[in-house]
Amino acid sequence: MPTYDWLFDSTGLRDWCDGEGGSSAPMSMADLMSQAGNAPDTSVWQTPFPSMDALNDACASFPQARDLTRGLERGFLDIKDSLSVVLDPLTQPLSWALEAALWLFQTTPWFVMIPVLALIVAVISRSARLTGLILAAFGGLAFINYYDYAMQTLAIITVCALIAVLFGVPVGIAMSRSDRLERIMIPVLDMLQTLPPFVYLIPLIFLFSVTEPKLYGIAVILYAIVPVVRLTNLGIRMVDPEVIEAADAFGMTRRQKLYGVQIPLALPNIMAGVNQTIMMSLAMVVIASMVSAPGLGVLVLRGIRNLELGVGLVAGFGIVLLAVVLDRSTKAALARVNAVQKG
C-alpha cells in the first residue's frame, strides 16, 4: 500500500523514517476494508497524491496533515494569552458600547422609541412616505410581538455599523493617499470578504470570553467594514483630477485638500459605502446569533433548529424589513448629499 516507499528508500532516508518515534496515522476505513478481504482494486489510477499522509504511510517520521493542523492550533494557543492581554482591554469599549446600546434600545419605551426613529428618518430623508414606512414597519413588528428582538438587532447594527464607519473611513482615506498601503490592504479586504465568518469566529472565541458581546461585535465589524473602506478609497481616488489640480494650483495644503475637497466630493461614494456596510452587518445578524448575539437572528436559528417554519420566516422577514428601512433611509440621505453636488 505505501506507494511512496521507494522515495525514501532511494534517497537513503529510510533510517530517518524508521529511526525517530514518528507516529503513524490511525487506520483508515479503506485499510480496514482491505483487511476484511474486500480491498478496493489498486490500479495505477488509484495512485495517491504524494500528500503528507501518503508520505507518512511510507515513512513514519514524515509528519501527517493532522500534525500540521494541530501545530497550528497549538501555535495559536501559545500566543493566545499574550494576544488576549493586548486585545482584551483594547476591545473592551466595544463590549460596553454594545451593552449600553442594547440597554438603551430595550429600556426606552416603545412610545418614545418609535417616534424618535421616525423623526430621525424624517429629518435625514425629508420624505413623508419613508417616515410612514418606518412607523408601519416598527408598528408591525411590535404588533406581532417582535419589537424587542428587532430593537436588539437594531442596537447591535447601530453600534457595529457606526464603529465600522468610524474606523473604515480613516483607513479608506489612508489607502487613497498611499499606493503602497492600497496594495497591502486590497488583499486583506478581499480575504475578509471571502473568508467564511465562521473561520475567524473560532480564534475569536478562544481570545475572548464567549459571554462578551464584543465577540459578535468584532465578527460583525470585520465583515461589514470592507465596503466602507473600499468605497472611501475609491471615492477619493475618483475625485475629478481637474478639481484636485485646481486645489493644488490655488496652493491648498494636503489637509485643506483632504477636508475641503476630497472628502466632500467623495461623500456620495462614502455614503454608498456606509449603506453597504449597514446592509452587511444586517447580513451577519444570524451568524452573530450563533455566537450569542440577541435579536431576530436568535429566532431564525430557533426556526431552523426546530424547523419552526413560521418563526423562521417571520423573523427572516423582520430582518428584511429592517434592511429595507435602513437601506431606504441611508439612500435618502445619500440622495440629499447628491442633490447638493449634483455629481
Binding site: 475629478d240 493644488d248 447638493v340 449634483k342
Partner: protein
Amino acid sequence: MTDAKISIRNLFKIFGEAPQEALAHAKAGMHKAELLEAHRHVLGLRDINVDMQEGEITVIMGLSGSGKSTLIRHLNRLIEPTAGEVVVNGENILHYGDARLRRLRRSNMSMVFQKFALLPHRSVLENVATPMIVEGAKKNDYETEAAKWLDRVGLQGQGAQYPHQLSGGMQQRVGIARALTSNSDIMLMDEAFSALDPLIRTDMQDLLLELQRELRKTIVFITHDLDEALKLADHLVILKDGEVVQQGEPQHILMHPGDPYIVDFIADINRARVLRAGTVMTKTTDPVPVDSEVSANATLEEVITQGGGNADLTFRVMNRDRQVGVLSMRDVLAALVATEGVKRTEAPAA
C-alpha cells in the same frame, strides 16, 4: 529678454519609467515618435525656451497632444520637469520648497481650467473666494472682495447659487472670477474657453480682453483654436509634438510662417480680420502723398471699411500720432492672399 516675467529655459519633460535615460536620447536629438517607438517613453516637452513678458498675453497653441497642458503646468509646478529651468520674477521655481511653492501658487499665480474645475459642494461665492479661504479668510473677510469680482464678470447676485445651477459660460465666469480674486499678477488659462459655445466663447474672449486692458496681468493662454489665438495673443507660441515650431508676434507668424505645418494651420484664417496695418505697410517716415490716415493697429478689415470699398487709395499709417509707414490698397489685397506664396517659397524661420 532677461527681464521677462516668466522665462522657460531648456525645459524637457518625459513621461515614463526611466525619464532620465530617455532624456539623454532626447537631448541627443530624438523626437517624439522615435522616442516612443524605440524607448516606450512619451516626450511631453523637448527643449522649450520661451519668455513671457509682463502685462502681455502669451498664447500657446498646437494640436491635441502637442504638450500645451504639460507646458503650462510647469509654470506653477503642477508637473515637475525632467530637465530645465522655470524662472518666475527672476527666481528658478524648481528650487522652491513646499512652503515657498505654495506661496507662489497662492499669491503669484492663478489658474483657469477648461472644464471649470469649480468645487461643486461650495456656493458660487465660496468658489470665487477659494484663494482667500485657502489663506484662512473667514466669511466676513472675503465676502466683499469675492462679490466684487463676481460683479466684475457680470454675475451680480448669483453668489448664493451652486455651480451646477449655472450654465457653462456662467461657470467659466466664476472660474475667471476665482482666478482674479487671488490678486495674482500671473494668470494661467488652459483651454479656458474650449468647452463653450461659439457665441458665448466670443463673449468670454471680449471679457478677457477688457479685463486685461484694465488689470494688465501677465496671462498665459492655451488654445487649439487659431482664431482665438490671434484674437488674444501678444506673443504666440506654436507647439508640435512637444517642440516649439515657431514663436513670436502673431502678425509676424501669419506673414512669415516658418513651417509647412503652420502654413496648414493658418490656411483657414480670416486674414482681413487678423492682419494689421502696421504689419503689412511699407515702413517709411518720408512724407508721401496719401488719401487718408489709419492707425498701425487697425485690422485690414477696418482699413477696407475705412476706404469705403475704394480700391486705389493709399493710407498713411500712424502710431501715436507719428507716421510709421504707408499702406496702399494694393498691399492690403496682396496681404490677404499671401499664404500661398509663402508656401511655395519657404520663408525663412522667424
